[in-house]
């Protein structure tokens, strides 16, 4: 009677796992780490996404169609209303003006830091939709507000920051549903005053006659009103451009983590197969078929995959929770609390990590299993011949160098191919590394001999004997270090850019800043009267103001700033990359002229002298590009600078979101700052800063925030450390018998320990050398391709990053060799000699 043998193979695989606990643990850790990282991403990112979506979603219950301006800003509704009223099938229209407002610290309502102020037209609202109340009544008289439950209760009064100072409203009703951002409903006309947008709205909500074909009618309205001025049924997208960058960074990180995880799994099983050469050969010799050997390895990898995945999921959940906390911190700092992020545990979140954990272990186990299947029985009977190994390694060297050469060409060829080129270079280095082991060992030998005398020779012998394994370990380290250097270079580059910009952007004496930088749509600015009052202060020489509006280009957000070209350059000169500054500023006031920042230049595909079409409140308008320049505040967002005149005529915006003040020479900055504060006491959304002080705080803040990325970089080194620990431990286990012989013929414990440490150092020096080289090339590629995205970052040679990487590599070597070295030294000589 015969049965299928796979269950027996599974049993044997299990025995291998269970009777080699240390090794199994080390291997499983690799999988655990990969799965955990990816699961954490999967938990956090969709949560962020959902929070975004929810906050974007205008909860437009009962509304058949909503129309917003294409710019996202307020517009004069009259032309659209005229058309709509004459359209068959439209039953009712109501106008809305709403704005998310971040509450300054002194004006927060409990723990609410922001509200959505919604001005509604009570006369028409109930024809289109209703807001359900849990308490009180809806708006009737002026000065009343209906609020979300967490904002207040009936009978309270609330104070809101507006463009004309603080305004107080009496709460007459409480909404059932508060909205993601707590809502405050007030009368439309009061909202228009509060937001300094008289007569303007930013949303039309429309109800259709019963029975009409919605899609049909929507299309009809679209044709009538045109596409270039209005967005249909679009949620009013706002503020979230900056999220794209967060996505980019996290996405990049996820991909690297995934790559390293898979690499580690592959590495592990490759090692397992090499190491088990004897056993596999013996099984083959007594009659195991190739398939059975493959089964054994695949089942073993699957078993580890299952264990690793389960533990990884748990760890990943914990990591996600931690990451969320960290992210909340960062987001709060940059943009205020936009949304509640929560961990989103959906079945989908499990798909990728579980898929990676299992499938990837299987796939990563497959190649080694295939190799295992090809093990000839004789491999158990005669020590492996080094010749074939070295020949393969030499081939790898040739191919790897060819790939690297091609990659270098791509790096130089054009900015478009730099990133693929950089990645290809990394791949080339991985391919070439087995072939580099031998020369590298020879190269570093003198050093080693210096440190370790005779044991160094043994260590070198060990490394050279298994160039494949040495190379894989070194490659893991290499990728880790290269990533670290990449991050260091990016951070350094940005730090440099920032400090350049900070120096230039803030050359005024006093700054009047919104509490939150970067997302001005939610800032309620100061109106012209206030700015004028500042100008009248005796010691104020000039006031430059920054005004803001928004537009879109192909669905992507475009920030529009109104500056006064006469004053602005004095207080905040921009860093021109194209065009001449004096000339550009001079032309700005002559009609529709624009200065683009590099991101906008890329987005609009325009250069100096071109004319770009901007979507404004007045439809598409042609603007001539007179310069391309960087400005600190808008580094990462596509930004267009136009004159304040143009901003007023084309975008209906006159409020200032930031003011930069130069004082008369001889006047006391501190005193003037006090006077400014007095003028603006009704505007707690602004903070008054002495520029010199602010500049240094900003610089520290920037470099502190960038340091977070060093943390991420260190995280990437964890798999590298695991890989190293794994290899060294397995090396010791595999060489148990040899170590026994060394001890038996008179080697001391210290010598054995030194031998293991020397090998670790050799591996790490090798990995670090290649890693630094690859890191420099890859980071150079990434940085130069940033210009493609519009960030002109200079390549700053990451000296500190490289030094840190080398130090880390050496520390890793020492750290990861402690345990194996101790194990090796403690080996009982007799046991070691008997070890098979």
């Amino acid at each position: 009677m015969k049965t299928s043998t796979w269950a027996q193979m599974a049993r044997m695989a299990w025995q291998y796992l269970m009777r080699r606990k240390l090794r199994t643990t080390l291997t499983t850790l690799a999988i655990v780490f990969g799965v955990a990282l990816i699961f954490a991403m999967e938990l956090v990112l969709p949560g962020v996404e959902k929070a975004l979506e929810q906050s974007l979603e205008a909860e437009s219950e009962g509304v058949d169609l909503n129309i917003a301006s294409a710019t996202g800003d307020a517009f004069d509704p009259q032309p659209a209303l005229d058309t709509l009223h004459n359209t068959q099938g439209v039953a009712a229209i109501t106008e809305v003006l709403r704005r998310r407002i971040i509450l300054p610290k002194t004006q927060q309502l409990g723990d609410i830091t922001q509200i959505e102020l919604i001005g509604v037209d009570v006369a028409t609202l109930d024809q289109v939709r209703t807001y359900e109340l849990r308490d009180g009544r809806f708006l009737e008289n002026s000065g009343e507000a209906v609020v979300a439950p967490d904002v207040g209760k009936t009978g309270d009064t609330i104070t809101v920051v507006t463009a004309v100072g603080l305004k107080t409203f009496a709460v007459v009703g409480v909404l059932t549903q508060g909205g993601l951002t707590p809502r405050v409903l007030i009368h439309l006309d009061e909202a228009q005053t509060a937001l300094a947008q008289p007569g303007l709205v930013n949303l039309l909500e429309i109800d259709f006659e019963p029975g009409v074909n919605k899609d049909h009618l929507t299309d009809q309205i679209k044709t009538a009103l045109g596409d270039d001025r209005y967005l249909y049924n679009a949620s009013v997208s706002d503020e979230f451009a900056i999220m794209d960058i967060a996505y980019l960074i996290f996405g990049l990180f996820g991909v690297i983590a995934l790559f390293l995880g898979a690499f580690l799994i592959f590495n592990t099983f490759r090692t397992v197969v090499i190491e088990r050469r004897h056993d596999l050969g013996m099984l083959r010799a007594v009659g195991a078929t190739r398939r059975q050997i493959m089964q054994l390895i695949l089942i073993e990898s699957l078993l580890q995959g299952v264990m690793g995945t389960l533990i990884g999921l748990i760890l990943g959940y914990l990591m996600a929770a931690g990451m969320l906390e960290a992210m909340k911190g960062i987001l709060d700092q940059y943009m205020g609390q936009f949304f509640d992020i929560g961990l989103l545990v959906t079945p989908g979140a499990f798909a990728v990590p579980v898929g990676l954990g299992l499938l990837c272990t299987l796939v990563a186990g497959y190649w080694p299993a295939l190799r295992a299947g090809k093990t000839t029985p004789l491999e158990s009977l005669r020590p492996a011949s080094g010749a074939t190994v070295q020949r393969a390694a030499n081939w790898g060297l040739v191919v790897g160098f060819a790939v690297m050469a091609l990659a270098l060409l791509m790096l130089i060829a054009s900015t478009k191919t730099t990133i693929p080129g950089a990645i290809l270079f990394l791949v080339g280095a991985v391919i070439a590394s087995p072939g580099m082991v031998m020369p590298a060992a020879r190269l570093f030998n003198p050093l080693l001999t210096l440190w370790f005398a005779r044991e160094g020779d043994l260590a070198r012998g060990n490394m050279v004997r298994q160039p494949g394994r040495a190379a894989i370990t070194a490659s893991t380290l290499m990728i880790g270090l290269a990533t670290f250097i990449l991050i260091a270079a990016i951070v350094k580059g940005f730090e440099q850019l920032m400090s350049d910009l900070v120096d230039r952007s803030f050359s005024s004496d006093i700054l009047v800043m919104p509490t939150v930088i970067g997302t001005y749509s939610s800032i309620v600015g100061a109106d012209e009267a206030q700015v004028e009052e500042l100008r009248q202060l005796p010691d104020v020489e000039e006031v430059a103001e920054l005004r803001h509006a928004a537009s879109t280009h192909n669905g992507q957000r475009l920030e529009i700033y109104g500056i006064d070209p006469q004053v602005y350059p004095d207080v905040s000169p921009m860093l021109f990359t194209k065009g001449e500054s004096a000339q550009a500023y001079g032309q700005l006031n002559e009609g529709r002229k624009a200065i683009l920042n590099p991101v906008a230049a890329v987005m609009l595909g325009a250069s100096v002298g071109d004319t770009v079409k901007l979507i404004t409140m007045q439809g598409q308008q042609p603007y001539e590009v007179v310069g391309i320049a960087n400005d600190l505040l808008n580094l990462k967002l596509a930004t267009v600078f136009i004159s304040q005149e143009s901003l007023k005529t084309d975008f209906n915006k006159t409020e200032s979101i930031m003011m930069m003040i130069n004082i008369e020479s001889g006047a006391d900055t501190q005193t003037v700052a006090g006077q400014v504060e007095d003028v603006l006491r009704e505007y707690p959304q602004f903070t008054i800063e002495i520029t010199s002080e602010y500049r240094s705080t900003l610089e520290t803040m920037v470099s502190n925030n960038l340091k977070i990325y060093y943390g991420l970089g260190l995280l990437i080194l964890i798999p590298a450390a695991l890989g190293l620990l794994n290899t060294l431990t397995i090396n010791v286990l595999e060489r148990t018998r040899e170590i026994g012989i060394v001890r038996a013929v008179g080697g001391s414990r210290v010598q054995v320990r030194r031998m293991v440490v020397a090998e670790a150092l050799l591996l790490c020096t090798f990995g670090a050398a290649v890693g630094v080289l690859v890191g420099v090339v890859v980071s150079y590629g990434f940085i130069s391709s940033f210009s493609l995205m519009g960030w002109e970052v200079d390549y700053v040679f990451p000296v500190m990053g490289i030094i840190a990487a080398i130090v880390i590599a050496l520390l890793l070597a020492l750290f990861s060799s402690i345990l194996p070295a101790r194990n090796a030294a403690r080996l009982d000589i007799i046991r070691a000699l008997q070890y098979e």
Partner: protein, 245 residues
């Protein structure tokens, strides 16, 4: 029909610049029920011959027939099946799988062949009784002495009742009494079970049990002696010395 038949078997190791003739033009026939000892100085190609006979490795030139099948015509799966059902192997080094117990090690060929586990272990126990190691069945290789490990390997070679048993110095680690016991056991298996045995040994006392001794030197058969169990150890030793010089 002979169990083993080879025609001008040649095995060359190394590349063109550095050739080693491990076997050179070896033709030999072994009948069923024969006990053949292979002797010769170290490096004379004894192990190589055994590996080729066991289908562990292909020859550079020449032909091997096992139970009438030309090994070169068999694919890897057929060879594997032959190894686990028709051949029992005891190797010179590294015989056992370290993570498995003695009993499990013995049962491997059966398990690989799809024999249900309980039945396989039962038969492994019977084989361990034959080599006198039943009380060590739960020990792992590291917990066994070198000689015990070799006896476990022998039990594994016997467990499938193979037609051909190939042993590469299976008594190398045994004291003279134990090796006598082992070789007597093997002699018995050949005589009572009709098995065929090819044994590599350096020990003239062991070789003296064989029906025939083949002497190898530099990969070639230099002498053959049909003793039918009649030669004395002294006799054989003299011959060996003659060959070596």
């Amino acid at each position: 029909m002979p169990v083993v038949q080879t025609e001008s078997l040649t095995k060359i190791y190394g590349d063109d610049s550095h050739r080693v003739y491990a076997l050179n033009n070896v033709s030999l026939t072994i009948e069923q029920g024969e006990f053949v000892a292979i002797m010769g100085p170290s490096g004379s190609g004894k192990s190589t011959l055994l590996y080729l006979l066991g289908g562990l490795e292909g020859p550079t030139n020449g032909k091997i027939c096992l139970n009438g099948d030309d090994l070169s015509t068999l694919d890897d799966d057929d060879l594997s099946r032959k190894r686990r059902t028709e051949i029992g192997f005891v190797f010179q080094f590294f015989n056992l799988i370290p993570v498995l117990t003695a009993e499990e090690n013995v049962a491997i060929p059966l398990i690989l062949d799809g024999v249900p586990r309980s039945r396989a272990l039962q038969r492994a126990d019977e084989a361990l009784i034959q080599v006198g190691l039943l009380d060590r069945k739960t020990h792992r290789p590291a917990e066994l002495s070198g000689g015990e490990q070799q006896r476990v390997a022998l039990a594994r070679a016997l467990v499938t009742n193979p037609a051909l048993i190939l042993g590469d110095e299976p008594t190398g680690n045994l004291d003279s009494r134990s090796s006598d016991e082992v070789v007597q056991l093997l002699r018995q298996v050949v005589d009572n079970g009709g098995r065929t045995l090819v044994l590599v040994t350096h020990d003239p006392r062991i070789a003296a049990y064989a029906d025939r001794i083949i002497f190898l030197k530099d990969g070639q058969i230099v002498d053959e002696n049909r003793l039918k169990g009649q030669a004395s150890a002294e006799n054989i030793r003299e011959r060996l010395v003659k060959i070596a010089v």
